[in-house]
């Protein structure tokens, strides 16, 4: 406790916007009632779209998986957040910057919240006992695992995960569909599995929450600190590491206090004697200290090299809400079904943090919080710096939704220009260099801006555009109100699509060349066959000719002999008739012989058949 504040490194650049977090942290987290309708998008994580395993009309129970994922594919499965009936599966607008639609499962809830397994903290346990469904099967694959599950229901359940081998924990995290809850929604199991293959020594828990207005992690730490610490312990046990740093910005004193109390209690606890060294590190409030790379640098001094993953530098970064989700999945055996969402801004009557089931329509949440104020003009998912505008409130809460900002245009303009670029007219760049001063990753935004605007994507890549973390600090300070980060996002996606096109074209080239090669081979083979056939024909002909010649010779000889013989008897006129016929004669004879033989064979066959028939008829008669 005394050494909460330890040595810190510094981070480059950054800005100090108005954080406006007070409004939503005045009240505790409100757990929302079950909404009448859930809209659950199939894809809520980075990676492939998982395969749907339910159908319209199916009755589903809380925690039942709706999708499955092929082995070794990147992605995360989803579960139903409560019990009900699937009334529709169709395309619906997604909370995504493109505003595009994706497949969503529409569930009409029954309000009973019946669940699939004997998890703690879930209502109506009686019905849960009866329903051993896919979820449970998924979790306990081996009988060994099963006994552990039973053990976990025993009195002191909290420490039972220590009996679990790492692969069981990993399996549970995967089947719980946990993704990084900081906003990127990268599948946690994949990240942890990758970490297991590298030698990492430090787990960094990201609780900085540097973006203005967002306070969901703050609220979570204030109210559920012991669960979070438990989750962190599980992660550390899984990774077999002894050091964990929790990075928190100094504008969250209550959260720091709450975590500190839990940690000191654990230190006193006999059972936790072998506790792992978890320490809370307070970082100065500065945007964007909550970016994984910036936080790593602040806490450890390690600057993760360009193009490398944090794992290669021996650190692994997870969001604090992810640690809580891990706790839920391992100790409570509950998949990721809900999350804390900050509802903030001057456009909503009661800004606060709510615990919402995944799939809850935003409109329902706003309704529960007293509705909109007259100032509500824009709706943004995420914070004002990195978030994006939502076209309607009929969109569901997904795993990546940390904040819904309902805000007036005037306030948005004050908060950030990154998301208000439509409202503000951009002026020409005056080369003031402010953007380069605040860029946390050492880029030259104005240079990138010129190249991106000229569509010179090669140049932007040369200026390391792909290292841009899209934090929006440059847009924030730009005195000309240029939506710099919008240009960078545009250029980045453009470069990515060009790369994909190149990849596809090289694949097409390969296929085309193979196709050509095959056609050529087939042609060659056909030619060769034809040649062979031709040769065979020629040979046959040659043979025939040779045979003919031989026969001719023979015929000639016989003719000659005949002539010689008859010469004695008949006069010279006989020679003509004798010499002419022999060739056709022998051939005809041979042919006639062959025909005769064939006819005889046919006759014999007929006779045999007749005999057989007779036999048959005889037998029938008998």
């Amino acid at each position: 406790m005394n050494k909460l504040i330890q040595t810190l490194w510094t981070m480059r650049g950054g800005v100090h916007p108005e954080f406006n977090k007070e409004a939503s942290t005045q009240q505790p987290i409100q757990t929302l009632p079950i909404p009448p309708l859930l809209i659950i998008p199939l894809q809520q994580a980075m990676g492939v779209v998982p395969r749907l395993i339910v159908a319209v009309g199916d009755e589903v129970l809380k925690g039942q998986p709706l999708t499955s994922l092929a082995a070794n594919s990147l992605g995360a499965i989803i579960h139903t957040s409560t019990s009900g009936v699937i009334i529709d599966i169709k395309q619906h607008a997604l909370p995504h910057p493109s505003g595009m639609s994706g497949m969503c499962v529409f569930i009409e809830t029954d309000g009973l919240d019946r669940c699939v397994e004997t998890a703690r903290g879930v209502q109506s346990q009686a019905s849960c006992h009866e329903n051993k469904s896919a979820q449970e099967k998924l979790i306990d694959r081996t009988p060994n695992d099963k006994t552990m599950l039973n053990a976990s229901v025993s009195a002191d359940y909290k420490l039972d995960y220590q009996l679990f081998p790492p692969d069981v924990i990993l399996q549970k995290i995967e089947s719980a569909g946990i993704v990084g809850l900081g906003g990127a929604a990268f599948p946690s199991a994949t990240k942890l599995a990758a970490a297991g293959q590298k030698s990492i020594d430090t787990l960094i828990i990201n609780a900085a929450e540097c973006e203005p207005y967002i306070s969901c992690d703050d609220a979570l730490m204030r109210e559920r600190a012991s669960e979070i610490i438990e989750g962190i312990n599980i992660l550390m046990q899984l990774l077999q590491i002894e050091k964990c740093l929790i990075g928190i910005e100094d504008n969250k004193p209550e959260a720091i206090e709450a975590l500190g109390v839990v940690l000191s209690e654990r230190n006193k606890d006999q059972r936790c004697k072998d506790h792992h060294a978890i320490s809370v590190k307070v970082v100065p409030t500065q945007y964007p200290s909550g970016d994984a790379r910036q936080l790593t640098q602040l806490l450890t001094g390690i600057e993760i090299p360009k193009g490398k993953h944090a794992l290669e530098s021996g650190v692994l970064c997870h969001n604090i809400a992810t640690a809580y989700a891990v706790y839920q999945s391992i100790v409570l055996h509950q998949p990721l079904l809900s999350r804390i969402v900050t509802i903030a801004g001057d456009g909503v009557k009661q800004p606060r943090n709510v615990e919402a089931l995944l799939g809850t329509p935003i409109s329902y949440i706003i309704e529960q919080l007293g509705g909109y104020t007259k100032k509500a003009e824009r709706m943004i998912m995420g914070g004002p710096m990195m978030g994006f505008a939502l076209p309607s409130d009929e969109l569901p809460i997904v795993k990546a939704t940390n904040c819904i900002l309902v805000i007036s245009k005037a306030q948005l303009r004050l908060a950030s220009k990154a998301t208000a670029s439509d409202e503000i007219q951009a002026m020409p760049c005056i080369r003031c260099n402010k953007c380069a001063e605040v860029c946390p990753v050492n880029l030259l935004p104005q240079q990138l801006y010129w190249h991106a605007r000229a569509h010179d994507f090669e140049k932007t890549a040369e200026h390391h555009l792909m290292d841009c973390i899209e934090c929006g600090a440059c847009s924030y300070v730009c005195p000309s109100y240029i939506p710099l980060v919008d240009y960078f996002r545009f250029a980045k996606t453009e470069i990515k699509s060009q790369q994909q096109a190149t990849l596809k074209s090289s694949k097409s080239r390969e296929r085309f060349e193979f196709n050509e090669l095959r056609k050529q081979r087939i042609k060659q083979e056909r030619d060769a066959k034809r040649q062979q056939h031709k040769e065979a024909l020629m040979k046959k002909k040659a043979d025939e000719l040779a045979a003919k010649a031989l026969l001719d010779k023979a015929g000639d000889n016989s003719g000659k002999n005949a002539v010689n013989n008859s010469a004695h008897i008949v006069a010279s006129n006989a020679t003509v008739s004798a010499a002419e016929p022999p060739k056709p004669d022998t051939e005809k004879l041979a042919k006639q012989d062959a025909i005769k033989a064939a006819m005889e064979r046919a006759k014999a066959k007929k006779a045999a058949m007749k005999a057989a028939e007779q036999k048959d008829s005889n037998r029938d008669a008998v």
Partner: protein
């Protein structure tokens, strides 16, 4: 005088031999420029350039038989890349080929398909699967949208549809550019543009 001539002649002979030797020794098989051009072409193998495939077109460009602006699937990006590579001026796409160049993919109306295998034979990238008298289908991921399967189909059951956009291949829209105080676009600023009055903000 004589010595100078001798020296020069000697050098000429020496370098001539050196060049001749290296031309033999380091001879490059094939034409590397063709490979480089081929790398830049989109490999749809559509034949819209009037050559049977991308590589023949690349060869023709290398021989300067045809311009660099005859590839509609590649569009302006390819023309620009080719212009950079060959150090020639980028020209707009040939007018005869000016059509919508949105990426498309073939799809077979499976209930109409009679299983004649003609499209399978026509596909340059083997993206159609099927067998005689059995339904055919297009592997959408492999289809280059070259249209070559359309003419041989006797029942016209192949449609070209635009590539479906997903959140995966979605491209962030370009910001609408600079605007002056009247909302006029300033996207192309030339030297003659009147100075814009910048309001004092913040």
């Amino acid at each position: 005088m004589l010595s100078a001539i001798l020296v020069l002649v000697g050098m000429a002979v020496f370098f001539g031999l050196l060049l001749g030797y290296s031309a033999q020794k380091f001879k490059v098989e094939g034409d590397p420029v063709v490979d480089q051009i081929d790398q830049l072409l989109p490999q749809t193998q559509c034949g819209q350039c009037s050559y049977p495939g991308c590589r023949p077109y690349a060869e023709a460009i290398a021989k300067q038989e045809i311009g660099i602006n005859h590839c509609p699937p590649g569009g302006e990006a390819t023309i620009q890349a080719l212009a950079d590579l060959l150090d020639v001026e980028a020209v707009p796409l040939d007018e005869e080929l000016l059509q919508a160049t949105i990426p498309t993919v073939a799809i077979i109306r499976e209930e109409t398909c009679i299983g004649c295998t003609l499209c399978i034979q026509a596909c340059p990238v083997d993206a159609i699967v099927g067998a005689a008298k059995l339904m055919h289908t297009v592997i959408a991921d492999e289809c280059t949208g070259c249209d070559l399967c359309l003419p041989p189909c006797p029942v016209d059951c192949i449609d070209m549809i635009p590539v479906t956009q997903t959140t995966e291949n979605w491209v962030w829209p370009e910001p609408s550019g600079l605007r002056d105080s009247q909302g006029q676009s300033l996207a192309k600023i030339s030297v003659n543009v009147e100075p814009v009055t910048v309001e004092a903000k913040r």
